[in-house]
Amino acid sequence: MHRKERSGDKRDMDASAPEYVVGLDLGSEHVRCLIAEMGDSDQLKIVGIGESQTSGFRRGEVTDLQQGAADVATAVRRAEENASVEVETLFVGVGSCHTRGFNSRGCIPVTSENRLIGEADRLKALTAAESVFLPNERQVISAVPQRYCLDHLCSVNNPVGMTAMQLEAEVHLVTDTAAMMSNLAKCIEETDYRAEDFVFQPLATAREVLTDDERELGVILVDIGSWSTDVAFFSSGVPRHSQILPVGGHHVTNDIALGLNISLQEAERVKLELASASLVGMSREERDRTFEAGRMDGQSVEELSVGDLVEIVEFRIDDIFSLIKRGLEQAGMDHYPRAGVVLTGGTARLSGILRKARDAFNTPVRLGKPQILSEMEGVSGNPELSAAVGLLSEGVLRRRKEMQERQARGGVLARTAEWIGSWIRNTF
């Protein structure tokens, strides 16, 4: 594979040069790459967007290593050209249908003098919560602290500095097959780029799309992709349930093609132009309205009614929603209060789907869009980009946290050394 010349890491070269974060959303039909500039303020500025059709990934898993690597490289290169910058590291979204999300707790005695809880105790409790028995072929891909309990006082957000006899940590753990992770890592290694970190996709999307209030009051995030649907349930500000269902917008298209005996391409077209998620509220004239679509043989044309089309779509959407509800039930989350459902992803644009969701979940429903504002065309308010933008905001957060930790560790000395190092590099 062709490797381009690199001019070294720009971040180290020049302190005044803008810093970039890159998000890579690996869809089953598209790979999307976003490049954003990290300013001094918290506001991100998207400077580049790149997309490529892909056949190398399916539901978050690598199906063709070479093809996948080539598709990733194409998407990132397009984003680079679009932004006129060069990037090196990517925040890669992960999560397959083998993902399992569950809640775990770990408890440690506080042994320090005066029973004072330090940062080390907090980390120890988290480690205890993350130490679950896993079969060999599985690994933890995400661990989000939910809350801490001090003795019997629960709902503590940060226990450091408090006193207690024992400290308990609750964590939302997500595991996936180790093979999925290693193959994905291998795929990124095949490109010129490096994975800065792997980010569990549903929770990253949630970070961008959901508001703090929603997370606090209880909300289900549903990101309907092409081949899979990401589900995340938040309550009291933290994730409680996450799941990836193996169905998505592609299945709607598929059903239309099979049900109406038309080609996949035509099915996709009528889905976007004519379909709706619910027959409810449609007048008789609307249902009886006919349209033409090309048959699978590619020659003849079928005359069909909108009512038939919508019925097929409605069945599939119903199906997806009932799978989500069942998942929540199985995770024991059905009794939690919820303020609403947020739908995002490409299929969230399907007409009537919000209403359908409202009926299915019996809560307010809204369309989830990236909160980021961008002058670039087709970025602001595009639910298809929720996942990719989510990776950006999660990426910024992780990078800031790492920088803080590094500073805390290194202190003044390291910073001085860094400054001298950069001065030397800049001068000579």
Partner: protein, 351 residues
């Protein structure tokens, strides 16, 4: 050749090329009261040795490493094998389980050895780690089969060899030392069987410990000088034949010590205490062998019997017929690739 203290015969039987070679070496320094026998399909090796031989029926040109052919040949010669064993009391069957004659014929030899009520223990030499996965898988299958026809199988894992002897040891040297250790283990078992051990070990104990006991493990260590017992014990615990973890899972552990006349009782007590510590719940049976000729030399043999198997998740090999969609499409008991409207209608008709 019969030892008067034992009713039946004690046999050491090498099966296949490798097995015969090991037994040949053992026969060079024979124990009294023990018969040494080689069983092979290959005429070529049969001619070259001084060992008492039995050639299996058919396939005189060698079985070409095919365990199935060797198994069939041994089945055909079952009567001859039984006759050659002369009312077997205790048979140690040594064969390589890399997929040739040893793997195929050893189980049959074990079956014949048990036909008169005798005890049959197979020492299965697993292929060396660097010989490849394919042979490892084949040997696992063969060993499991052998387990069903014998009283006990002692696996010689042949792994971590370089770790044990240092990385700069030649391959030949490693093999020689391993053979030495196997020989040590076999000698110990035979000494016990022949009734030459003092304290709590004899053929009866051996029989109770080994009969239909499944997997067993062997560890051999040798040292001399002061504190020789402790050092040889440590070597036995870490010797290459022993997965130390397996010894911990044994239900009974036989400790056989051969030392000089002057071996102090305190040292023996300390040694058995440290073995007890290592093996945990297992029943400990200690025996003292006849004094060694070499001054100050101490040999310890550990035999862990009835090793509890840890259930392993096996990865199936080869192809299997997959019907319909693959399992990822089955979600929550339904195949989500089938259009929702069709599934709903089916449910409707069923109802």
């Amino acid at each position: 050749m019969r030892d008067p203290s034992v009713d039946g015969a004690l046999n050491i039987i090498g099966v296949g090329g490798v097995g015969c070679k090991v037994v040949e070496q053992l026969a060079a320094d024979p124990l009294s009261g023990v018969r040494y026998l080689g069983i092979d399909t290959q005429e070529a090796t049969t001619h070259s040795s001084n060992l008492e031989r039995l050639v299996l029926a058919g396939q005189s040109a060698g079985s070409g490493r095919a365990a199935q052919i060797a198994y069939a040949a041994a089945q055909r010669s079952a009567n001859e094998i039984t006759a050659a064993l002369e009312q077997n009391e205790f048979a140690l069957i040594i064969g390589s389980f890399g997929g040739g004659t040893g793997a195929g014929a050893s189980p049959v030899v074990a079956k014949c050895s048990r036909s008169d009520g005798g005890l049959a223990v197979i020492i299965a030499l697993e292929p060396l780690e660097f010989e490849g996965d394919k042979r490892t898988v084949a040997s696992k299958e063969a060993i499991n089969f052998a387990l069903s026809l014998s009283d006990a199988v002692i696996r010689v894992p042949n792994r971590d060899v370089s770790e044990l002897y240092g990385s700069d040891v030649s391959a030949k040297d490693v093999l020689r030392r391993m053979n030495q250790q196997i020989a040590g283990g076999i000698h110990a078992l035979m000494e016990i069987a022949a009734g030459r051990a003092q304290m709590s070990l004899d053929l009866g104990v051996l029989r109770r410990a080994l009969v239909s006991s499944g997997f067993a493990v062997l560890g051999v260590g040798e040292a001399d000088g002061a504190g020789g017992l402790e050092r040889s014990l440590r070597r036995a615990l870490s010797s290459s034949f022993l997965y130390p973890e397996e010894l911990r899972r044994a239900t009974q552990v036989l400790v056989f010590v051969r030392g000089g006349e002057e071996l102090p009782i305190e040292e023996l007590q300390a040694a058995s205490r440290s073995v007890a510590e290592f093996v945990g719940d297992a029943e400990l049976l200690v025996g003292l062998g006849p004094a060694q000729e070499e001054q100050g030399k101490v040999t310890v043999t550990l035999i862990g019997c009835g090793v509890q198997e840890v259930v392993e998740t096996t990865v199936s090999q080869g192809s299997e017929t997959v019907q319909g969609f693959d399992s990822t499409d089955l979600f929550d008991g339904q195949n989500l690739e089938i259009p929702a409207f069709i599934r709903r209608k089916r449910q409707h008709y069923r109802a």
